[in-house]
């Protein structure tokens, strides 16, 4: 027998739960996704909008008041794996993933969880570089998450219950899905990781309601398809070209853009002579059909693992006096590129970091002077195997007009190569480059870093020239993405456990916080009520900061 007063309290509690659940029910329509930057209180896609600028027009926090930022709440995850996720925020609810594949819905104002969906991946899953996940996508009231064992899940955003769960690719062959999906209209688009296992990469779209596959684009063309001639023999079957960061979308052109990973085996091209399309390329696909409209290959015939797995940043800016639809790309290979995103035309290319693998680019953006390659004895080459940048989200600020790249400065590896034969599900790299920088979860302390290991930086480039406008240098290398706001603030974390607000025009430090763990994720911002939050994953926790 429950006492009547307790019963009344329980009813009130149930009512408040219902109200909270009501807040969960907002539908994220295709129109909302197209216009995501017009509702900056929410963060509706991995990169904040289809343009993937990781830029917000929220203006409460400014260079004048940022020094008053303070921690609002922290959410501890249980996983000790690298915490690479960017959360979404939809109408006051945050959707966060925890490695390997748990989804947590939180009250974005307090950090208190509404529900957790736990997923145990198949033990067949094998990943080269961490059993990670970078986030979810949303359509209507359904969340989508790729899994490390090669599946795609749809969950009810109200309660985390599975809606559908489909197999995308065979994890025992090295296929995995680590990226946050991209929803375009009625489709959820993903790609597969596995570039170190001799997979055949693809990008695929699935119906958001049913999970039925709508189209699939293989990043390695099969017999009879254009580009197949850039592979020798049977090498295309194990040509890799994995996809592990989220693409972008231009609604006017109905094109979706994806960066493609390295050819396989990574370091030994003896059996795959040629350009190896579409590895290390950006591909522009019709979002309805998956048909290739254009491609641009950054590193033809790559032997240095220079995946083009960077976020395709779209910008509408004046180019030589007239407005133009552009794509800005700081590549792992050390060059900064500007492309016309309607046609794929190469407009500008310039090193943004030390490059020794090529002497430059020709008029069409193809690298020239390629004298350094992996050898049996080993060859020291810059950028090193992790690249001048990697998957870490860059940012473009339409206000400053600058492009901001997380950069590894003065960094090199020794690349070797050896013969390798494909064995299903086994590593297929043909070399073992030696990276002088300790891993992100290594047991060595940060006191062991030396100058010759290189260091991290935020580099601000002028897209019109590729010239460096300013640099913010860190002691350690960096795995942090970058967020900018319309108040000319830039947020970035560091491996040594700081989270910074910089002046986006000068690079000057405006504010810093210690977050006690490595930042291996991109910051984001949102608003609940009248309060702007800045969120960043660090170590094994998500931190949010607000003004008092």
């Amino acid at each position: 027998m429950i006492h009547p007063s307790i019963q009344r309290q329980l009813h009130r509690f149930a009512l408040s739960v219902l109200l909270a659940a009501g807040a969960l029910s907002a539908q994220v329509t295709p129109d909302r996704l197209v216009n995501a930057s017009k509702e900056p209180k929410n963060w509706l896609t991995y990169s904040g909008s289809y343009m993937s600028q990781r830029h917000s027009s929220l203006g409460q926090v400014t260079p004048a008041n940022a020094e008053r930022l303070r921690m609002e709440w922290t959410f501890q995850v249980k996983s000790l794996e690298k915490f690479e996720a960017t959360p979404l925020v939809v109408d006051g609810v945050m959707y966060l993933t925890e490695a390997p594949n748990n989804v947590i819905a939180l009250d974005a104002a307090t950090g208190r969880p509404y529900w957790t969906y736990s997923y145990t991946p198949s033990p067949a899953a094998r990943l080269c570089c961490g059993i990670v996940n970078r986030g979810v996508a949303i359509s209507g009231d359904t969340l989508f998450m790729g899994t490390v064992d090669g599946r795609l899940l749809a969950l009810d955003a109200h309660n985390g219950r599975p809606v559908w769960n489909i197999a995308v690719a065979d994890p025992s062959l090295g296929y995995a899905v680590t990226l946050a999906p991209l929803v375009v209209k009625d489709k959820v688009i993903i790609g597969v990781a596995g570039g170190e296992y001799g997979v055949r990469g693809f990008i695929a779209a699935y119906n958001v309601r049913t999970g039925d596959e709508a189209w699939r684009f293989y990043t390695i063309p099969g017999p009879g398809e254009p580009g197949h001639e850039t592979w020798t023999g049977e090498s295309w079957k194990t040509g890799a070209g994995s996809i592990w960061v989220t693409g972008s979308y231009d609604p006017d052109l109905n094109l979706t853009y994806w960066g493609v990973g390295n050819p396989g085996p990574d370091y030994n091209a003896d059996e795959r002579a040629g350009d190896n399309l579409y590895s290390d390329s950006v591909v522009a696909l019709d979002a309805d059909t998956g048909k290739l409209r254009w491609h641009f290959q950054f590193t033809p015939g790559d032997v240095l693992d220079y995946d083009a797995v960077q976020i395709p940043v779209l910008a509408d800016i004046n180019w030589q006096g007239r407005p133009r639809k552009l794509m800005l790309w700081g590549n792992r290979n050390g060059f900064f590129y500007v492309l016309d995103r309607t046609t794929g035309e190469f407009l500008l290319g310039k090193p943004f970091e030390k490059v020794t693998w090529a002497s430059g680019l020709d008029a069409k953006g193809r690298p020239i002077g390629r004298n350094l390659v992996p050898t049996r004895e080993g060859t020291r080459i810059s950028p090193g195997v992790q690249g001048a940048t990697n998957w870490y989200s860059p940012s473009f600020s339409p206000r400053t007009g600058l492009f901001y790249i997380p950069t590894w400065v003065n960094y090199s590896s020794v690349f070797n190569k050896y013969p390798i034969q494909y064995q299903a599900g086994q590593r297929f790299t043909g070399g073992a480059p030696v990276n002088v920088v300790p891993g992100t979860r290594g047991v060595t302390g940060i006191n062991t870093r030396r100058e010759e290991d290189g260091h991290g930086a935020v580099r601000a480039l002028d897209p019109a020239t590729g010239n460096l406008k300013w640099e913010f240098a860190m002691t350690d290398v960096t795995d942090s993405g970058i967020l900018t706001t319309s108040t000319d603030l830039l947020f970035v974390g560091s491996r040594d456990g700081y989270f910074y607000a910089l002046n986006a025009r000068t690079g000057a430090v405006v504010w810093r916080a210690t977050v006690g763990g490595q930042v291996v994720a991109g910051p984001m911002t949102y608003q609940v009520g009248n309060k702007q939050y800045i969120a960043i994953a660090a170590g094994s926790a998500l931190f949010t900061f607000t003004l008092p």
Binding site: C128, C129, G130, R376, E377, G378, R380, V414, N416, Y418, P419, I420, Q426, R427, F428, T429, G430, G431, A432, P433, V434, N435, V436, P438, G439, R441, G442, V443, T444, G445, I446, N447, T448, R449, R450, E451, D453, A473, M474, T475, D476, S494, D496, G497, Y498, R512
Partner: protein, 250 residues
């Protein structure tokens, strides 16, 4: 320089040669992993399992780095070699350690006596005026309480006779000069974008704020003298025997 060569006439074996760009930190990390997870079967120097001598690149199931990585990660079904959940980075560290084993094996000193070595360490050698062992001695230099867990005899012998040859990253001495011109010297404990921490001259840890500093200079030579001429070959072997016996407080 990281390279390996197939050893002719030895099927299924390859030699991993000395890489100059594995850092000492890699080797140390690898040694800790190896000694914790592998040495129970393979022995601390990787040569206990019949037919396998890991430090000399003699592997029964691997003929290149990828295959070695596969074996370390996947184990060998039907044998005592289990799969592991190491990161690829950790596996590379283990390989770095195996490489260092190969190079260190050529430097084995003679048989030493642990008790005599300890007496030299505490007495004639004056080692404890800089080093610390199990709570005794100075904090100026590296604590050697468990040095036998991650440094091989050959490495230790080299450190005693050629202290400048290999200085572990975590054992560097630096001098920081403040904006007003004060110099602070000590062993580098930690550094990041904002701070530097040293073990100062009076054995007190010091934290310095980078933006208050004019310069920070790392010393490229060891603060330790060479014992090549100070100790006899037997005495060196005794000290090495003592150091390799140091496995931390059990």
């Amino acid at each position: 320089m990281f390279r390996f060569a197939l050893v002719l006439g030895m099927a299924g074996a390859f030699a991993v040669q000395q890489p100059s760009n594995f850092t000492p930190a890699d080797v140390e990390e690898g040694s800790r992993i190896f000694l914790n997870s592998c040495a129970a079967c393979h022995g601390p120097e990787g040569d206990v399992v019949p037919g396998a001598d890991l430090g000399r690149g003699r592997f029964r199931r691997a003929s290149n780095e990828d295959e070695l990585m596969r074996v370390i990660l996947g184990g060998i079904p039907g044998t005592a070699m289990p799969p592991s959940n190491f990161s690829s980075r950790q596996v590379m560290s283990v390989i770095a350690y195996l490489v260092s084993l190969g190079s260190a094996k050529g430097r084995q000193p003679g048989n030493g006596d642990i008790a005599r070595g300890r007496a030299i360490f505490d007495g004639k050698g004056q080692c404890i005026s800089c080093h610390r062992v199990n709570g005794q001695g100075s904090r100026l230099g590296p604590d050697l309480s468990d040095v036998g867990l991650f440094r091989l005899a050959g490495n230790l012998e080299q450190s005693l006779t050629e202290p400048d040859a290999v200085i572990l990253s975590q054992n560097r001495f630096v001098t920081a000069v403040t904006r007003v011109g004060d110099a602070v010297r000590g062993r580098l404990l930690n550094q990041d974008t904002e701070l530097i921490q040293l073990m100062g001259a009076d054995e007190r840890p010091v934290t310095l704020i980078r933006r208050d500093l004019r310069s920070v200079t790392a010393e490229t030579r060891s603060s330790m003298p060479s014992y090549k001429a100070r100790l006899s070959a037997q005495e060196l072997a005794d000290v090495v025997a003592y150091l390799t016996s140091l496995r931390g407080l059990q």
